[in-house]
Each structure stands twice: as structure tokens, then as C-alpha cells.
Symmetry: C2
Subunit: 419 residues, 2 copies
Amino acid sequence: MLERYVQKLTRDAKKASVSLGQVPTATKNRALSAMAKELERGSGGILAANKRDLAAARRAGVKGALLDRLMLNPKRVVEMAEGLREVVKLRDPVGAVIRQWSRPNGLKIAKVRVPIGVIAIVYEARPNVTADCVGLCVKSGNSVILRGGSEAIHSTRAIFRCLDRAGRTAGLPAGSIQLVWNTDRRSVDLLLAQVGGVDLVIPRGGEGLIRSVVEKAKVPVIKQYKGICHTYVDSPADPKMAEEICFNAKVQRPGVCNAMETLLVHRAIAPRFLPSMARRYLKAGVQLRGDPATRRILRDLPVKSATEKDWATEYLDLILSVKVVGSLKEAMEHIQRYGSGHSDAIVTKSKEHGGRFLRGIDSACVYVNASTRFTDGGQFGMGSEIGVSTDKLHARGPMGLEELTTYKYVVVGRGQVRK
Amino acid sequence: MLERYVQKLTRDAKKASVSLGQVPTATKNRALSAMAKELERGSGGILAANKRDLAAARRAGVKGALLDRLMLNPKRVVEMAEGLREVVKLRDPVGAVIRQWSRPNGLKIAKVRVPIGVIAIVYEARPNVTADCVGLCVKSGNSVILRGGSEAIHSTRAIFRCLDRAGRTAGLPAGSIQLVWNTDRRSVDLLLAQVGGVDLVIPRGGEGLIRSVVEKAKVPVIKQYKGICHTYVDSPADPKMAEEICFNAKVQRPGVCNAMETLLVHRAIAPRFLPSMARRYLKAGVQLRGDPATRRILRDLPVKSATEKDWATEYLDLILSVKVVGSLKEAMEHIQRYGSGHSDAIVTKSKEHGGRFLRGIDSACVYVNASTRFTDGGQFGMGSEIGVSTDKLHARGPMGLEELTTYKYVVVGRGQVRK
């Protein structure tokens, strides 16, 4: 029963994707604008549905940041609508010619951007993911199957109803956007098994969700496990610049993937740099965990002892592990060993050190003299993002509209055959 | 024991990849040239080893095309060496700037091509795959772990010894190229489980091998399942051009993935086109299998009845299934249903029909008025290829050096922090 339901969703999505891939940009934009308007018009219903989710969550003992993520208010609904309007402004990637050339035999070859096909989004409690993902998938010509978590299901359904109504009226092919209506966990497993039907799964949520998706998926997955981001303060470095960057990377928004989790400091600059840096962190409520050298330098301050586990932990909180290293090489080895390939930065006055770091660190985004917090589709100028990939294949780093496409080779001849 | 061995290979490959990714082009080219020379110098030993594989294969009852694929001779060894020299001439993709831009806050962002890391190649009896893959992986800065089939293991080892000797002498980092020395089947499973160690597996061989790799892999795989390629002869079409293209697509080399397996003909042109086309095929030894309409038109010729299974079969042989269709739409629906997303062609005089076909067919390579046999890295002008991907993510169609790379974002600032 559930199996047939998921198969039907997939079949309908596939069928829709053939048409949706050829729908003109204007139609897609009209649909997205209508969705934005419909969200605003349906705000009351969405907020009422959200209240039900919040009540259930409170009964289940959810609180703090988790509850906040689940919570909608009039402003957040408007922000969802504005997000869709931002996507309207972005350039349609479909049909763009990546490269074209002619062969000596006269064949004309073009590498042309096309939608991937059917994208499934498996996510947790954030209701805004529903609108964000529909916007990016529709604009890039992909059918989307949404599978939101049970915690937010009433909000998700209410948002989806608005989007769906607007999409139909605006003329999107039936099946372009679909929501797995129930919250049976087996529906995720079934989606992940639709080989040839679902072309890509993007899980969005905590590490547990992502690992479980990767473990079970028979179809391709692009994912972001975690962001264990480092900043290495080199010698020589401008201590003031280093302090601003390190403060921003940890404190500006600690709960996100591009926030710094580990600070590495060259031992030549550590005695000068660390004390004032640490005081500033402590004042901002940051808990520090240091290696022995760090604790020696900061012996008058409350610094816990960092364990092996700390170096491999994504705190997503106001906690920072700190290590003093003897060289750029040692810093790089630490990052290669404990990093997650997300975003890593060096603060240095040395061009040569900067170059070695940029070449040698195998992460999606590598920085010289800037905060890792810039790893973001918007900050990079790509417009909205559907996530940040820590994979190496297909898409790496912030994923925008282009990353939701593939390409095909279009070859035009006048009767050529192969000799 | 075996597990530790495969883990060590992977660890060494990973370690080597960090250096290999930064080795100058000249060093990589010198290594490839030395490998070519060493293959030619070691030809006698390679051929002696190949004799052992051939003898074992004959004892096991292998013959025909399979035995031919396994067979080496002096000319084929020279071709392997020449293949490496061709790769020397190709442009090094590593370090190429795909795009660069500045942000209003002054951040400079560059999207830079970098190697993927560690690539494992799992292949069957073709000994030349060993040299081809080493050439392309080394040039693209990737460490490679080879796992060749037991049928060719003596040849593979002999070839590998030459490549390895030359690579070491030329200064490639130790661990850049490695061969799984034994032929225990479990070593494949172990390779496929090296999450975080092996960055990509490329299986090369028959459908059985590929399905088994995909089924077991915990690491990313790029693959080509099969090439069920179609040519659709439209109305209006130039019958002479159509005949040349269809003959070439089927007959020029039937055992390869880009050869045509199914011919679709519009019913308005079928009575004129099919009889002479069929006679030419029959003369060339092609066995025909037709739908009822085809068999009516060709009732004087030996045409078997095509079954449902025929439409979904990659013959890789001088066999062709033929169907008469009522419209471009019907042809496209047939291709979407039975095709493998590899290469499909239309022969038409109508620009509008050509455009609809190119847009509507979701295959790696789509053709107007040319033979599907052109789907090939060399024919496309990309130089050598490591295979043709029927996947949609990361690489689609012929995979050359660029497709063996990923990218990272290199961000250079002067102290920028996020507001």
C-alpha cells in the first residue's frame, strides 16, 4: 500500500519532469510568484497548523533551539515568500550552453545544462525547508518530492497546500511538486530505493538523519555531514585581524555549519594573541577547551582540557577547542585529520604560507584572511542555496541552482558517420 | 589479513594523493613518458605473462570476442604506450580556474579544479585498462588503486610492474599507483567499503560486474550500465543519409556501447526506406527482429518477431530490433521507456522535429543527423576517456581528464568578517 503510494509519487514526478524541464522561464517565475502570494494569503492557516506542531512538540518535551526552528510567526511566513521572490530573480540555469565547439568532420557539439530530473528532499523539523526547496527545484526544472519530518507535519502540509495550489493555477505540470502525505518512516526507505525514478536525494537535517539516508540509499545522495571548521592563526599574522576573524567565525552564529569549531595558533604568536582573544571569547560566553600549551598560556583563565574527542566534534554551540601548533605543516595535518572538508581558514601575512594552505587543504572552501562564516550561497553571490555539500562529486560547497542541474551533449551533424 | 591489506593500500593512496595533487605537470608528464618507454622495453615479459592468461582462459573454454579482448601482441603493447603518450599531450586540468569573481565586500572567490583524491578501478579481463586508467588518473592528479580480474591477472601484474617502476623513478609519490595483488573476490567488497578513503570507484566491464559494484558500494560510483542506443528515422528524412547513418551505427563496430540496438522508423517513410536498408543489413550479416508493421513491410525477407525483451536488450552484436512508429512523439516515448540514457539519434529534415528530439530525449548524448558511434572522448575532442557515464551526477557521457577532477572554492580576503 505504502509502497505503491511512493511508487506512484515517483512515477508522477518522473512524468512531470519531462515537461517541467522544458517549461519556459516565465512560467516557472509566474508559478514562484504565485506561490509567494499564496503563502502570504494563507499565513493564518499556516500559523494555526504550526500551533498544533508546537503544542505536540512541547508535550514531547522539545525546547530551546529545536523549538525555535519549528516555530513560525507572521514575519517568518513573509520571509518564506520573499525567499521565493528572490529565486524568481535568479537566472534560469536550464538550457545554458556550458561550452560548444565544432569537430574537424563538421559535427557541432554543445554541452548544455539540463535539469537532473526528480529530486527527493528528506528533512526534519524546519518548516521553511518546504518552500525553499520547492523554489529552487522548480526554477531549475526538477520535479521535487518532499518528505518532511513528523514534528512539523501540520505546518509542512499547510505550506505545501499553498505552494501546490499556486503551482497548479500557474500551469506547472501535475506532479512537479509533491509531498509524501503521511509520516510513516518506511516512506523514506521506499523513496531511497526508487532506482531510475528518483535521480537525487538531498537529506537536510542532523547527522543522524544524514547517516541513515546514506546507509539505506540505493539512489544518489548529496549531503553535508558536518562542518568541523578550523581557523589557523599563522606566524606572521596581524593579531588584530586574526582576533576579528576568529571572533566572527565562532560567535556571530555558532549553531551553523560554517562556524569555527577549532582554533589553531602558531606557538610564536600564541603568547601574544591568545590571552586577549580568550578574554573576548569568555566575555561572549564561549566555553574554551585547550591543549596543554594553550592551558599553560591561559593558566589564569577558565579553560577546560581538550580531549581527543573535542578535535572531532561539531559543537554547533558557544564552545571552542584551541590548540597551539609548531608549524603550518602541523596545522594542516591537524585539519586533514580532524576536519570535515567543509571550510577552513588561515590568517597570515605570508603569501607563501597562504598559498600552501589553499593548495594543501582538501576542503570545499579554503580561506586566507577571512571568516569561514562566508561559506554560503548568498554570501558567494550564487543566490539561494539548497545546502552545502561536503561531498566531492557533482557539487562541492554551497549548492545553488546550477548545482541542481546536470548536462547533456547535443550533437548536430549533416550525415556524418564514423570511419 | 586481506582487510588490513586493502586498508593499507587505501591509506597509502590517500597519503600519496595529497602530494600528487600538487605535483607539477612536467613531473606527471615525465612519469607517463617513462611508463610508455618501460612498457615497450618490457613487452617481452608482458607477452609471456599474457600467454599464461590465454592458456588458462582456453582451458576454461573462453573463446571468440572474450579471448580476443584478453589477447596482447606486440602491436597492442605499443598501442598502450602510445595511449600514455597521448595523455602527455592533453592539458593538465588541475589548478584550472573554472570561474573567479569578487564580492562587494572585496572577497575574491575562485572556483578551482582539483583532483578527486583516490580513485579505484574495478575491471575485468582487458589488460589495456591498466595502462589507460593509470595514465588518466596520474595526469589528473589522482591516486589510483587497480583491481583487475583474475582472468588477466598475469598480464595485469606484468603491465603494472612496468608502470610502477617508471613512476617511482620519475618521482611520483609512493602510493600514487597501486594494484591489488591477489585476486580474492573479497578484496573488491573491501575496496567498496573504504568510506573516506576511496573517493570514487569506476567499474569497467559487463553489466553483471557493474550491478554487483553498485549493489555493494558504500563509496561513490560512476558507471555505465549499458548502451541501448536508438536511431529514429523521421518523416521527412533524406533516405540516403538515413541509410548511411543507420548502417554505420549498427555495423561499424557492433560490440561497443555506442552502437545502435534499435531502429525506429516513421511509418510514412518506412515502405520506401526499410526494404533497401534491410537488404544492406542482411548482406552485412545483421540479424533483424521486427515489430508486426516492420515484418509486413519486409515480408519477403528473413525478419524474426521482436519481443518485449528485445526492446530492452543491449545485443552488442550484429542483431537489430526494428519498429515502425506513427509519430515523433511515439518514437520519443519508446526511447524514454526502453533507452538507457546513453546515445540516441534522429535523422530528419525538419528543424522543428530535431529540436524537439534534442530537448525531449533525456540521454547523455543526443544527435541530429549523425551516427551514435561518435559518443567517445576521442571523437568529441576530449582526448582519451576513462569510460562513458550513463549516470546524471558529476559526469555524464564521455569521461575525460576534467571529469576526473572536482573543484574547491578558494577565497582570499583582507580581514573580512560576516555582519
